[in-house]
Amino acid sequence: MRVRVEQTALPGIGVRHDVITESGRRIGVVSHRNGRRDLSLYDEQDPDSCVASIPLTDDEAEALADVLGASLMLGQLSGLRQQAAGLLTEQIAITAGSRYVGRPLGATKARTRTSASIVAVLRDAEVIASPDPSFVFAAGDVVVVVGTRDGIDGVSRILAKMDPDG
């Protein structure tokens, strides 16, 4: 990670973590000892002062982290696409009718058959990065695939109802 996170102790209260963004803005998270978290946004004119302090419950903090984490990953993937010409990233949803619902990723043999890779699965607000062959699909999962046009189309066909080999 190229981003620097500053940690400051708040005696009697907890800890504050700060991230200074490339645009020069500061974002802070105050973690209280009792588990409460505040997201702090700082004043542009007076960067020492927070203009807004938003209390987050455990669940809210987790959801926010997932949203930010997912966009970070997709952002990295689209960066990859520009670097390697001919390599594409696509998201493929697993429909309820797919024959792989409830079956492990390994059973698709997607990589051997298409040379495209399943690099992540998005389930609800969660991101499962680099899923194992033993990872079991559920209806509604969104699979992130990296590969050539043909490869991705192949994976798409495998995951859809009709299987190219069967």
Binding site: P11, R16, V30, D38, D46, S53
Partner: protein, 402 residues
Amino acid sequence: MHHETTVLLIEVGALLLGLGLLGRFARRIGLSPIPLYLLAGLAFGQGGLLPLNASEEFFATGAEIGVILLLVMLGLEYSADELVGNLRSAAPAGLIDAVLNALPGAAFALLLGWGWLSAIVLAGVTWVSSSGVIAKVLADLGRLGNRETPVILSVLVIEDLAMALYLPLVTALLGGTGLGGGGIALGVAVGTVVLVLVVATRYGHAISAIFPVNNPEALLLGVLGLTLLVAGLAAQLKVSAAVGAFLVGIAVSGPVAHNATELLSPLRDLFAAVFFVFFGLATNPADMPPVLLPALGLAVLTMATKVATGYFAAGRIGVALPGRLRAGLGLIPRGEFSIVIAGLAVTSSAVEPSLAPLATAYVLITVVSGPLLGRLPDVPAVKVWLRRHRDRRRLEPATNPE
């Protein structure tokens, strides 16, 4: 006897109900309830509007417990690691704080010809900011994330630690043991504090392990019992009950400390209110008018020195002007500790009798004006002024081409 108990119930009930309404009113106008509790005490004490008689002993004992609970909760808020870790980085700020704020109090008492013992007591009164009021103001104003906030908290931590050494010293001096006895008491106090810090950092888990985390009743009784026991023993050793309680709070750590904090908070709120009322009760309002002007003068002087303290301390870690002002103005309120110190002095004949009413007036002034002044840097007009001030500074080198 039976009749007395009835009157006691009526007096205590009426007063607590009144305090409840006052507390609600204070919250509505965004004030700390402490000044209102003190005023209520003044009104119902000797020479007040409506003296309470039957419940005096109850309030005296309740006030004693209130101090102990205030201090044990203060200790529970910090872990020993935090205290020790904080000590190194914040020592310069703590030193500036002590010099700038204790000396004016001492000098003031000496100027009035109150003697050196009163000078030491008044130095303590003007030195210590109120951790309780300030922590609450910081949370209310949403400043916990601000960059100057760790500075403010560090100063408070150092002050609290310093009190663990200062209180037993003052107790010994007021007990008439003289400077030599005071020296021994200070030695004992330093030894005890260091010992507790070492034990707490190394064996804090073992101490906490004797308390059941998930049994509220047993935890409440256990922690409260241990606190009162240690406070009593400390008082017996002439170390000061308050310090004993503070050290128990520090020694207890982890989830036990967290759960104990939640269990003890309502008790603390109750008995701390009783403590402030009792301090007011013990002061005769007729003693107040003559000390009002000196108290105001002392308050203005030491408010200025607190602002300077915050300005320097925040400047050390590179906070800009508005943040420095927030740190300084934020440190103004004096509260529970100042009253604890003045409360110790009341019992001694060697201390100037006007000191207690002076301290009451002083705390009233700082605890009311502190939170109000603390909001100043957030006022739009002040913000604009500060911004202009900064821009002018930035522009100056540009307008002078040399």
